[in-house]
């Protein structure tokens, strides 16, 4: 039930490809650590690819929110890509869908980041 995470860099944007479950415990901690690590390296344009995330609980949602505010507070941008229907519906129910910048195409997501 753990979360898988891998990192790629495209045109100055760091993409975290997440898979599995983002839940209380392992998944949410992995996400938090990964974002913190990127910020520590000065990588502030972050795109979370949630295309393979099949489950997220309220702790996972909270971690997405915390990641978003942390990156924003450090002058960066964090966006979401490829929401599954379940994650999309959860963000809608919790009124977070309009808080995040949600993309369904990687190329346009990368192009949407402000140029340094």
């Amino acid at each position: 039930m753990s979360m898988k995470i891998s990192t790629r860099h495209v045109d100055g944007v760091t993409i975290l490809d997440l898979g599995g479950r983002i839940t209380l415990g392992e998944g949410s901690v992995q996400l938090r650590d990964a974002v913190r690590d990127l910020l520590g390296k000065g990588q502030k344009k972050i795109l979370l690819n949630l295309g393979d995330v099949n489950y997220i609980d309220s702790s996972g949602i909270g971690e997405l929110v915390s990641a978003y505010t942390t990156v924003r507070n450090q002058g960066g941008e964090l966006k979401l890509l490829n929401l599954t229907r379940k994650v999309h519906d959860l963000l809608q129910i919790t009124k977070l869908y309009t808080v995040f910048d949600v993309k369904d195409d990687e190329a346009s997501a990368i192009a949407s980041y402000a140029q340094a």
Partner: protein
């Protein structure tokens, strides 16, 4: 530890994430066996997971001396899941509204809201000590009596 009375199954579990996972899996199996559709299986198992997290994390604070109980019952017309903890008790009226603008960017506080969104009835009962949370999902005509 399990007990069975009529169609009710009850587990007494330690305050751990493994227990939360077990409760979630049991809820999913119960819903699937009852013939619930996939979307509602997800909603039920997620609501039950949130209740179990509340019991383990907020109620029992992962205290190894404290237990969570989870009971699962198919009444024929409803699925009834009861989760109890041995904590200080929870007054749901004091919970902040996670949809309020000032709370929207909080990192926590959405669990009870999601439970209420996904289940047909949610009841709180103070046990002194502890809290019992009852989650009820009414079965549709195709599922009732399955």
């Amino acid at each position: 530890m399990t007990g069975q009375q009529a169609s009710r199954i009850t587990y007494t579990l330690d305050s751990s994430l493994d227990s939360v996972n077990k409760v979630e899996e049991t809820a999913e199996q119960m819903a699937r066996k009852a013939g619930v559709d996939e979307d509602n299986i997800f909603r039920i198992s997620m609501a039950v997971r949130e209740a179990a997290v509340n019991a383990v994390l907020h109620g029992n604070a992962y205290d190894p001396e404290k237990r969570m109980t989870a009971s699962f019952e198919n009444t024929g017309t409803s699925l009834v899941i009861r989760i109890t903890d041995e904590g200080k008790g929870l007054d749901p009226s004091t919970l902040p509204d996670p949809l309020a603008p000032e709370n929207l960017l909080r990192g926590s506080g959405r669990g009870i809201f999601l439970i209420r969104s996904f289940m047909d009835e949610v009841h709180f009962r103070q046990l002194h000590p502890g809290t019992e949370l009852t989650l009820i999902k009414h079965l549709g005509p195709a599922e009732a009596g399955a």
